[in-house]
């Protein structure tokens, strides 16, 4: 039985922003909804929380249909992007208010607040007001407010997007640790694919209100189902090239490669023209030779441990990875070798993946 299930959920405001969404999460699974701005992630999460009505379809938590339930009766707790802490209450009051409203035994409340404060290292701040805390501390208070409710499902809507990069990385690790400890189902919304990759058991990529692909991070990385997922997951972005097959030769504007006999069967049903995808990490600098692309280095993006070359040739732009010590200077003419074994192929019309691997 799924812990959370969206069944053909549709949401229409003026236009349809979530379209027949089907998604399920196992008990204890960490599901990340990722997609570009405005694709309907927050709306989906808010429907699960009960903050937004469902136009069509149904949402289930455990074996209950919660579609029409009030948020407080759904067994969910939510962490908001702007934290939504009550400014006039202390940290302790912020964390405990939900329990007081539910009229829990005061001893139980004290115990839950104390244990949450310990886990989140908030003990020193319990009597402070949110205005006196840093962004990271406020974020922890917001998490504390969720934890003490002991919910079935945790909901996060871009909880880290107001923090600086270092704090974000640190809190990502804390959230992972927390999840391992609580073993509860988590729905987490972000537009940051790095966050999605590092946190998720399962990623659901959304675009324009539709789920594009659902799967473990590495599956999405290795076998994106369509061009959108391929371009969205992985940084820098995958390179895309128009390609065609001439017998067993793969031709693009900047290079031609012979397909090894062992792989030939994969290409039997290919259309003549299609889109080829290749990640920067599967392209490297090489000496001039058969199958390489002669390009001009335009810019070098230094990342410390590795570098990315932005190259151009005949109106085609390619980003390739290289060792920092191998980085050419701008304007230099270089050769790139593409790793055919890691190519992705997409239909030029439908943008769907061509080889199901």
């Amino acid at each position: 039985m799924a812990a959370v299930q969206f069944k053909a959920v549709t949401k229409t405001f003026d236009t349809t922003v979530v379209d027949k969404m089907d998604l399920q999460a196992r008990e204890g699974e960490f599901v990340v909804l990722v997609g570009p701005s405005g694709c309907g992630k927050s709306t989906s999460l808010r429907m699960l929380a009960g903050l937004e009505t469902v136009t069509d379809g149904s949402i289930h938590i455990g074996d209950r249909d919660v579609t029409a339930l009030h948020p407080k009766d759904r067994g969910v707790a939510m962490v908001f992007q702007d934290y939504a802490l009550y400014p006039h209450l202390t940290v302790e009051e912020n964390i405990s208010l939900g329990l007081k409203v539910r009229k829990l035994d005061p001893a139980e409340i004290t115990e839950r607040v104390a244990s949450a404060a310990k886990v989140l290292e908030l003990e020193k701040f319990l009597s402070k007001k949110p205005g006196q805390l840093s962004g990271g501390q406020r974020q922890r208070v917001a998490m504390g407010r969720a934890i003490v409710k002991r919910p079935e499902v945790y909901l996060f809507d871009e909880p880290l997007s107001n923090l600086d990069a270092k704090l974000r990385a640190q809190l990502r690790i804390e959230i992972t640790r927390l999840h391992r400890r609580m073993k509860k189902t988590v729905f987490y919304v972000t537009h940051d694919q790095v966050e999605a990759m590092t946190l998720a058991d399962t990623i659901a990529v959304m675009n324009e209100g539709k789920i594009q692909q659902v799967g473990p991070p590495m599956e999405l990385y290795r076998h994106p189902k369509n061009r959108f997922v391929a371009s969205f997951i992985g940084t820098p972005q995958m390179n895309f090239l128009d390609a065609e097959l001439d017998g067993l030769t793969l031709k693009t504007k900047i290079f031609s490669l012979r397909i090894p006999d062992g792989l030939a069967t994969e290409f039997t049903d290919f259309p003549k023209h299609f889109t080829l995808g290749c990640r920067p990490h599967d392209i490297s600098r090489a000496a001039a030779g058969a199958g390489t692309a002669a390009m001009s280095a335009d810019m070098v993006e230094q990342r410390g441990a590795e570098s990315f070359l932005h190259c151009v040739q005949d109106g085609v732009s390619i980003v390739a990875r290289c060792e920092p010590e191998d980085a050419p200077s701008p304007g230099e003419n270089i050769h790139l070798r593409f790793n055919l074994a890691r190519f992705h192929y997409f239909d030029s019309e439908t943008n769907e993946r061509l080889v199901a691997r």
Binding site: L51, M78, A84
Partner: protein, 270 residues
């Protein structure tokens, strides 16, 4: 920089003298005898110093009763405005109900009508209700104010929606959310309205003067005006009475000024 400061202090000093001057003169006059009040040139220190004006007011006139009347009326009007305006403002800012835009514009519209225009219709209405010469006439029509509602509405529009959503997930209903989360955020607005409404009602003269005829029902300003003679005025008595009117206002301001100044200098939550 220092010259700018000097100029600033000079201007502030002039302004303070202009506002404080009449007050100090009244205060001093209230301790003077009737001859000393009209003596020329006027003096600031009352000589001879007398408390007779105050004892006269308290013993010969129902001054404490008038003060009580004023306090009750201003108190009811203030408390009612602070809460009712807040509730109406919140409803207009956040609740979705049919006709809320129209209702809002009607409320705003009432602010455009000059007060003088409604004096006669309101008076006729109150007299038909049989409320003339009653507390009801001085409180019930003044329990809310369009401007107060507008002020709260604008404030509540600026409160992030996620706060209410968090409250909802915390299990609070609309009333709990309003009283536990939303209203405490509006403290500066509440304080500002408390001061305005209290002052307005406390100093109000026109309506009580028109509606009250029994001397025991008088509010302070009406009572005070009743012994401004037709041919001459006992300024020392009037000024002692004025001190009764002013003192509670000063107290209210001292209590609320912290919030009030906050309310004027900051508009939103942060």
């Amino acid at each position: 920089m220092t010259r700018g400061r000097g100029l600033l202090y000079l201007l502030l000093g002039i302004y303070a003298a202009l506002t404080l001057g009449p007050f100090l003169w009244s205060l001093s006059a209230s301790f003077k005898t009737v001859e000393a009040v009209s003596a020329w040139p006027p003096t600031l220190i009352p000589r001879p110093f007398t408390l007779e004006n105050y004892t006269y007011l308290l013993e010969k006139l129902p001054f404490l009763r008038w003060m009580f009347n004023s306090l009750v009326i201003a108190g009811i009007v203030t408390v009612a405005n602070v809460f009712l305006n807040a509730m109406a403002g919140y409803a207009l800012a956040r609740l979705r109900f049919p006709g809320r835009k129209v209702l809002f514009w009607i409320i705003i519209g009432t602010m455009m009508i000059p007060g003088q225009v409604v004096i006669i219709p309101v008076f006729i209405l109150l007299s038909k209700l049989g409320w003339i010469d009653s507390y009801a006439a001085l409180t019930i029509p003044f329990l809310t104010s369009a401007f107060g509602v507008f002020m709260y509405r604008q404030f509540f529009l600026g409160v992030p929606k996620s706060l209410e959503e968090a409250a909802m997930l915390d299990g609070m209903g609309p009333f709990q959310t309003f009283f536990r989360i939303i209203l405490p955020l509006a403290k500066p607005v509440m304080a500002a309205q408390a001061i305005f409404m209290f002052l307005g009602s406390w100093n109000g003269f026109m309506w009580p003067a028109m509606l009250l005829s029994t001397p025991a029902m008088y509010t302070l300003p009406v009572g005070l005006s009743s012994f401004q003679g037709q041919y001459y005025t006992l300024w020392n008595l009037v000024m002692a009475g004025t001190m009764f009117v002013t003192a509670p206002v000063v107290v209210v301001f001292i209590i609320f000024q912290r919030y009030f100044i906050q309310g004027v200098s900051t508009t939103g939550i942060k």
